[in-house]
């Protein structure tokens, strides 16, 4: 907001002072719609139960500066092709459902604005290295079960819920050590970008390994040895080659590549 309360240039909303039935509202809507630019949205369509191979369907979609790729897909789904399979929920980079390949890179559709892509053609495909459900939606069963395998919870002999036990206190410095890794929304973008995952689907993957670090670095946790044993296996941590692509694409600043190398420090005995 500027000092006089007006919205900054480019962010002004169309002012409409009329009842919803007023035809001028519709006119205003049409005016805004026609004044916006358009892109060609190419959507990958493939139904494993019916189709033999992927086909790209192209749609012309109007967009504003703030239109996200998810908005554009939903615009097409509402008005042009109802059959598009897409998963989303929060629309605010929190639920981790809308990961897909956008113009060649894994990104969250709700967190990627059309305008930032700087391209007249936006191509959306399902994430790589995940089994396809339909069109843009992929299955997360394996990632979630791998996530569970690394025991993503604080392991302790005593429990805060036992009568007479106080809550486990942490200093802000203690929290700082793992909070970065606790931001993970399980969107799977990192697993989709990882070069090891391209050929090894049994690799724990950056998502699971970063979460193993999140709990190992938590000073309330006593399950470090157990977790290190789980990740120290042929398809575990040593299959990471530190290509950094996971951290390149993570939309939450988790930096899985860093978590993995710090975790290795424990296994190699440089960290206690």
């Amino acid at each position: 907001m500027t000092k006089d309360g007006a919205l900054p240039k480019g962010f002004e909303r169309p002012t409409v002072s009329a009842s919803p039935n007023d035809s001028s509202v519709q006119e205003k809507y049409e005016e805004v719609k026609s004044s916006s630019k358009t892109i060609t949205l190419r959507i990958s369509k493939f139904n494993p139960e019916k189709d033999l191979r992927t086909a790209f369907h192209a749609f012309t979609v109007p967009y504003q500066r703030w239109t996200t790729v998810l908005d554009a897909i939903l615009e097409v789904k509402s008005h042009q092709d109802h059959s598009i399979g897409v998963r989303y929920s929060c629309r605010q980079a929190t639920c981790g459902s809308c990961g897909m390949i956008i113009n060649g890179k894994p990104r969250l559709a709700c967190f990627t604005k059309i305008s930032e892509l700087d391209s007249d053609v936006v191509t959306v495909e399902p994430m790589n290295n995940f089994p396809l459900i339909r069109d843009l939606a992929v299955g997360f069963e394996r990632m979630f079960s791998t996530h569970k395998r690394i025991k993503p919870y604080v392991i302790r002999e005593d429990s805060e819920t036992n009568p007479g036990t106080k809550e486990f206190l942490q200093s802000p410095e203690d929290v700082e050590k793992y909070i970065q890794f606790a931001s993970c929304i399980k969107c799977g973008l990192c697993n989709s970008a990882c070069p090891t995952m391209t050929t090894d689907s049994t690799f724990i993957g950056p998502q699971g390994l970063a979460q193993a670090y999140r709990y190992v670095a938590d000073n309330r946790d006593q399950g470090k040895d157990e977790r290190l044993r789980i990740i120290d296996e042929p398809h575990g941590i040593w299959r990471c080659h530190f290509a950094g692509s996971c951290s390149q694409v993570c939309p939450k600043g988790v930096d899985p590549a860093m978590g993995i190398q710090l975790l290795r420090g424990y296994l190699l005995g440089y960290r206690k």
Partner: protein, 142 residues
């Protein structure tokens, strides 16, 4: 690919899309494999010594051609990059050089892709190029 969306070798061997760190990953693999093949060839080459001086000399002749010089220059480049980047990886993969984990703030800048690492990659590539040029200048007597 269609149903399981696994990128396979093609995705693994594609150095584009994810910045210089992914390029370094690709170069490390290529140069590692290149050096492995060179090493095997090198054992074969040096074992010709067992067949006497003439056999050894004729083996050496193989690299005394323009193609041979270019091949040796490539081996020099592979050695230098692989060693330089290998040292970076050994340090980083032991968990050193990242600073402290901290609460991420938008726009996120991952510590694992920090300037130290990028610089080491560029220096490894630069040194490899210099070493190759030096090798070529010696071999071609320029």
């Amino acid at each position: 690919m269609d149903k399981d969306r696994k990128e396979g070798i093609k995705g693994m061997a594609n150095p584009g899309r994810y910045g210089i760190e992914r390029v370094a990953y690709w170069l490390m693999r290529i140069t590692g494999l290149g050096l492995l093949f060179y090493f095997i060839g090198h054992i074969y080459e040096t074992s010709s010594l067992l067949d006497g001086k003439a056999a050894w000399d004729s083996m050496l002749e193989l690299t005394q051609t323009t193609e041979g010089h270019i091949f040796l220059a490539l081996v020099i480049g592979m050695c230098v990059f692989h060693t330089g980047n290998g040292i970076r990886l050994m340090v980083a993969q032991a968990g050193f050089g990242f600073g402290k984990a901290r609460r991420p703030d938008y726009p996120y800048t991952p510590s694992s892709l920090n300037m130290k690492n990028k610089l080491c990659i560029y220096v490894s590539i630069g040194l490899a190029a210099l070493a190759m040029m030096y090798g070529l200048s010696v071999m071609f007597h320029v």
